[in-house]
């Protein structure tokens, strides 16, 4: 061992060169942009957190490659009445310490979340559950606070921990310590926890008793590398086998590189322009920078004019270098509640200008456009593109592409008039997206929490509330589609593109099916040959 090391180093000294830390066929080393925040799966709802957790823990309901819900630790589920769901649990599932998975673990996990969850809270996924009743070791009944049609969708982020291993590590003070040290990080997932520290490497070892079967890699190392160029350099230097979130510029180069494979998938993220619907709005002015008498964004003609100014194909081809698809509604194509009836949007700046004149702004007006610049690939660039496109119909646009740490607090305080950020439909269905954005803000019904433009259409509210009560899936789907048609016709939300995600690996090194939720799950990645 020491001798080998010495050899390697002297080779370096002699300038012969040795590929750095060449990974063996049994080890998968992944360079990921973001890692987990803790080894406690119940601490954070962040996508990168869940991505890492899915190696060690299982979720009650599984979310497939395209976000379709599939049996996970639960084999089947059905509503018994308006406020009760029955979940049948999988038999013969073992935790890493050899103990059996039972209903006790489900109850423990659901009740643990409100206690230990951090600010990026998982409460949203279990808030509808009022009580967990254990019927037998493999059957649970969940009592909800009202009809909860999408409970199985919410449970794709319900990670199950062992009620024995985690018993002593389930308070705010003890949770992180217990899980980060590995004592409580006992799951039913395909890999056993070996080591991790914040921002460092997550090291995992295969769990041979996994219920889906034995994983293809004996060891998995996930290295956190937030810088896009560094991650790519690590791949090219042979330090890692696979990287995620390849930037659009690098993707263009990698496509032509014969030594690299790239994997491309539609993501769950849609970039949406949001137009403030309040009577008076702070960041829209006349051409001299003085306040306007009324908010022009309330005029449907103005909203349509802005929509007509946006050239979506150009946005994808030029601004995103091909990494995206034009979109006309709040969710990616094919999601539950996505509507085929929303008309395709094509640019027509001339008609846009005419509409502005009809609305009483023949010379246009001026506005400040705000967007995030560091949250999703291409967000800042799309913002710049929008500014130029709006200028073509005479709307003078001051583009402010800023850090999410400034953007979201100000946006929550409703300091902006027209702003853009991505929205990911993480559960793959409409109640999540439309319930948050399109219902008028209503704290009592817990709807419209992310409706920061005070958009309100009574017809839409009615449809969304009806859909929330409807337990029959096809009927519910039809209600959401109707709501989607109305929302997109109103154009208070203008959807622009669905983003795409790229992975890259050495040529022929491995096979993977890219996932819509952007997870990089080692269990489902197989060696190339």
């Amino acid at each position: 061992m020491k001798f080998a090391k010495l050899l390697q180093v002297s080779a370096v000294a002699l300038g012969l060169g040795v590929a750095a830390a060449g990974a063996s066929a049994q080890t998968l080393t992944v360079g990921v942009r973001g890692g987990p925040e803790s080894m406690d799966p119940h601490y954070s709802a962040l996508g990168v957190h869940a991505d890492a957790m899915k190696h060690v823990f299982d979720t009650l309901v599984w979310s497939g490659d395209d976000l379709q819900i599939e049996p996970g630790l639960a084999e089947s589920w059905k509503p018994l009445d308006d406020t009760t769901w029955e979940f049948k649990l999988r038999k013969g599932v073992k935790f890493h310490d050899g103990s059996n998975f039972t209903a006790e673990d489900v109850k423990f996990s659901i009740e643990r979340i409100p206690v230990v969850t951090g600010p990026t809270t998982l409460l949203i996924y279990v808030r509808r559950v009022k009580e967990v009743v254990i019927i037998d070791p493999h059957t649970v009944h969940l009592k909800t606070d009202g009809p909860a049609a999408t409970l199985p969708n919410d449970f794709v982020r319900l990670f199950i921990v062992s009620h024995k291993a985690a018993a002593d590590f389930s308070t705010k003070e003890t949770a992180a310590g217990g899980f980060n040290s590995g004592k409580a990080a006992i799951g039913t997932g395909p890999y056993k926890f070996v080591s991790w520290e914040p921002k460092g490497d997550l090291v995992l070892e295969r769990f041979d008793g996994y219920w889906r079967g034995k994983g293809p890699w004996a060891k998995v190392v996930r290295k956190e590398m937030p810088n896009d160029s560094s991650r790519l350099a690590a791949l090219k230097a042979g330090q890692v086998d696979l990287i995620n979130y390849v930037s659009s510029a690098d993707w263009q180069a990698l496509k032509r590189d014969p030594k690299t494979d790239t994997f491309l998938a539609d993501s769950v993220y849609v970039m949406n322009l949001q137009l403030d619907q309040r009577e008076s709005t702070p960041k829209v002015y006349d051409l001299d920078g003085k306040p306007l008498a009324k908010n022009p964004l309330r005029d449907p003609k103005v909203r349509e004019a802005l929509d007509l100014a946006i050239d979506r194909p150009t946005m994808v081809e030029v601004v995103l270098e091909g990494l995206g698809t034009p979109n006309n509604q709040l969710m990616p194509k094919g999601f539950f509640g996505w509507s085929a009836k929303v008309p395709a949007r094509s640019p027509d700046p001339r008609r846009g200008k005419a509409l502005l004149a009809e609305a009483g702004y023949p010379n246009g007006f001026m506005m400040d456009l705000y967007c995030t610049s560091d949250r999703l690939p291409g967000d800042g660039a799309i913002c710049q593109g929008l500014g130029q496109m709006f200028a073509q119909i005479g709307v003078k646009t001051n583009v402010n592409a800023i850090s999410r740490s400034v953007y979201f607090p100000a946006q929550a305080k409703k300091e902006y008039s027209i702003f853009m950020n991505g929205w990911g439909t993480l559960t793959g269905e409409a109640s999540y997206t439309l319930g948050s954005m399109a219902h008028s803000p209503n704290a009592e019904l817990k709807l419209g929490a992310f409706n920061r433009i005070e958009y309100s259409n009574p017809k839409v509210d009615e449809l969304l509330q009806a859909a929330g009560r409807e337990l029959d899936a096809p009927k519910r789907k039809a209600l959401y589609e109707q709501a989607m048609d109305l929302i997109m016709a109103d154009r208070a939300y203008i959807s622009i593109v669905t983003l795409q995600t790229v992975w890259a690996s050495d040529k022929g090194k491995l096979k993977m099916t890219p996932r819509t939720d952007e997870d990089t799950l080692a269990f489902f990645i197989t060696p190339g040959k």
Binding site: P119, I124, R127, R404
Partner: protein, 324 residues
């Protein structure tokens, strides 16, 4: 001397106190961290619950008092993002930054000072002009670019050194170091060189300017007249006379590199504190930002104190004037 030290310590306490207020107000002004951390889809009741749980529904002055009260008990709070005590988080990442910074700053001084003295001693020699020419590059080329070029050359093309990350660690004196194995050193080399370039250029220029000035003084003339060898003169007289500004810059550079090696750490995926702070700024992890900036203030106050003491040793006039 002891009176002087006590006075400086009292000053330090005042500075720290003022710093904590400035940091707290500044961080508060950026915005409510919960708007960044709470999932966008969280309904209103969940938002309210979480905001209250982290004490962010209180007015600013109350939050500050709660913070001060906790600090008085040695508790800087828990990271919003990582749920572990902030001090543990910072301390766990300090060794990585410490070894990188020390390697860079000591390397820069060990190479830069002799080169600079040579360039000042023989200002017209070709070698001196080459040294000065190259040092301009060190100043003017941006760190992130040099870092990427280093990676491209030595990791991607030549494959001699790893492209980033920290090597395996050994526990020495209860702390995890990566400098005791060859693999660890191979990981350290590129980021340390990248970090050292700017400092190297600065050391060369400082040493050269100092030397040129000193060489013209009576001290050197008399030393030569006394028949001392040129080597002795450079080692005993020149080096001692140019030491004061170099020690000052060395100390401050050490401090600022320790605190803000952000660019190099990010490019080389080096798990140090610089990366921690930049990440906590983008996620508005308030407890980490506040604790970190206060610790940085403490670091600078300490370094300045040590520099002042070093002056007294290097230049007896300083100590005498203070004693008076």
């Amino acid at each position: 001397m002891s009176g002087y030290i006590i006075q400086r310590c009292l000053q330090a306490v005042v500075v720290m106190f003022a710093m904590s207020v400035i940091v707290f107000v500044g961080v508060y002004a950026i915005g409510n961290p919960m708007d960044v951390l709470i999932p966008l889809d969280a309904p209103q009741d969940v938002r309210a619950l979480i905001i209250a749980r982290f004490g962010l529904d209180l007015p600013l002055w109350k939050q500050y008092l709660v913070f001060l009260g906790n600090v008085a008990q040695g508790d800087f709070g828990r990271s919003f993002v990582y749920a572990i005590p902030v001090l543990d988080l910072i301390v766990s990442r300090l060794p990585a930054t410490l070894e990188l910074t020390l390697a860079a700053v000591i390397g820069a001084a060990a190479i830069g000072v002799p080169l600079g003295i040579w360039a000042g001693y023989r200002p017209d020699a070709l070698s001196s002009k080459t040294i000065m020419g190259v040092s301009i590059l060190g100043f003017s080329v941006p760190t992130f670019w040099v870092g990427l070029i280093l990676i491209l050359t030595f990791a991607v093309w030549l494959g001699w050194l790893p492209a980033g990350g920290r090597g395996p660690v050994d526990v020495v004196l209860g702390v995890e170091w990566s400098i005791f194995s060859l693999e660890g050193l191979s990981h350290l080399l590129l980021p340390a060189v990248n970090l050292a370039l700017f400092k190297l250029a600065m050391m060369i220029r400082l040493a050269r300017a100092g030397t040129r000035e000193v060489m013209l003084t009576d001290t050197i003339k008399f030393a030569r007249a006394a028949g001392l060898s040129e080597g002795t003169i450079v080692r005993h007289h020149v080096l001692k006379l140019i030491a004061v500004p170099i020690v000052t810059v060395f100390g401050l550079e050490l401090g600022s590199t320790l605190a803000f090696a952000v660019v190099t750490e990010t490019i080389f995926s080096w798990p140090g504190v610089g990366k921690l702070i930049i990440d906590s700024i983008t996620s508005l992890d308030r407890p980490v930002m506040v604790a970190y900036l206060i610790l940085v203030a403490l670091l600078f106050v300490t370094i300045n104190l040590l520099i002042d003491l070093a002056y007294a040793v290097l230049d007896p006039r300083v100590a005498r004037s203070r004693a008076a």
